[in-house]
Subunit: 247 residues, 2 copies
């Protein structure tokens, strides 16, 4: 039995969730609440010592890192709906896109997301309460990011991340002007991993992602949202499988 | 015919070079000289528009990104010496290690390397000559890095990168204390990609990598250096294949 631990269908958690839906694999979905710091709790750090979602448990073995989980599902279930191209060159092109999400696109969007949302999650805490929460975070860089989110990120950093978001959506739109999908002529993990970050940007970044400036990016976002797997994912995991994360 | 464009057997260029030697694949090796900015020249940017090595050309198709090239060689030549574990879980563990190199280990070592070596490469240039060189660099973040290397990186950044190098070698040594190889019980791309960065650290970072503090890391570095493929690689590409990069 597969169990996915995630924050639900958004950002990095969306990647393996959509891959599981696309492949039609049965899985139990355990949703963690980031506002309650559930990913830093002791029970979850026994599953992923780094205290990060998503994580996939497969018969007791745990796989972490969203992109690695997606490739694992392809390796382990090659005969279900295929989400990797059928030749080595196109698969390499797919991996350049998924790597780019992990090393560039995801980070700039994440910083602005933290600036807008995460800071507010911890502003009600006293300094002592906040420092107590930080102690549970195993990754030093994540503790730095929480502190910055609470104090406010330096404006220079926010400007630079917004510049990178501009570069990212331009790159996607230019490529999608010439191609229906990102790699190999078909829908693949390249699309799923970029969609995980790009979906919703027409609302959150309307000055950059809109019908005039990025029509091809919008077309592609819409196209993925229309897929039966995406609709099923957003409509919600069947209630009987949506067990609360244990505490 | 395979053609590899690289800086020679060190850092990211080492990864596909060693993979090609391990698999016993014939290839032409075109060496570029970073001190002459050959990777930013127009002829090379026609091969890789991002102006980065390594790049692999396979019958006219170009694959970039060192880790992606390594996986491509596995996908395309699965029957030669295998550098990926034979099951999905261990392959996922291998990918967590190669991803970690690309997102963490390589960056901290790279910054210190630039601080120590690259700055000197451009200090003899006048401001005008330097700015002229920068114009040929397609990636904005790379231009920022060249400027910082020439001016001197902020001490705070150097301290933080040295901290991360300490974390990295501790992580490797702890894992290698319990395991002969990094993933799946056998030699794999996890070892090749980490070796690309770790080899030589006992000289460049002797305060962190030494017989007392990291005996297991040293054992593993030595073990890879003793492999016939690594010896052949360091002994030099056969002269007839070592054509100078065209200009």
């Amino acid at each position: 039995m597969l169990t996915l631990y995630s924050f639900g269908p958004g950002a990095n958690s969306l990647k393996p969730t959509l891959a599981l839906y696309e492949k039609g694999l049965e899985f139990e979905h355990r949703l963690l609440n980031p506002a309650k710091f559930e990913h830093h709790s002791d029970w979850f750090k026994q599953i992923n010592p780094r205290g990060q979602v998503p994580a996939l448990a497969d018969e007791g073995k745990v796989i972490t890192e969203s992109t690695v989980i997606c490739e694992y599902l392809e390796d382990e279930h090659p005969t279900e709906v295929k989400l990797r191209p059928d030749n080595s060159y196109d698969t390499a092109m797919m991996r350049i896109w998924t790597k780019w999400v992990d090393e560039y696109f995801c980070w700039c969007v994440s910083t602005i997301g933290w600036h807008r949302l995460v800071g507010n999650m911890v502003k009600h805490l006293s300094d002592e309460e906040f420092e107590e929460k930080l102690k549970a975070i195993p990754i030093p860089e994540q503790r730095v990011k929480w502190r910055r989110a609470r104090e406010g990120f330096p404006q220079e950093m926010l400007d630079e991340e917004m510049r990178k978001i501009g570069v990212s959506v331009r790159r996607l739109d230019d490529h999608l002007a010439e191609n229906e999908w990102l790699a190999g002529g078909g829908y693949s993990l390249a699309d799923i991993c970029n969609f995980a970050i790009a979906n919703g940007m027409e609302k959150a970044y309307s000055e950059l992602v809109n019908a005039e400036d990025t029509p091809h990016l919008l077309r592609w976002i819409e196209q993925i949202n229309e897929r039966p797997a995406a609709k099923a994912m957003f409509a919600g995991v069947p209630r009987e499988k949506m067990e609360p994360a244990k505490d």
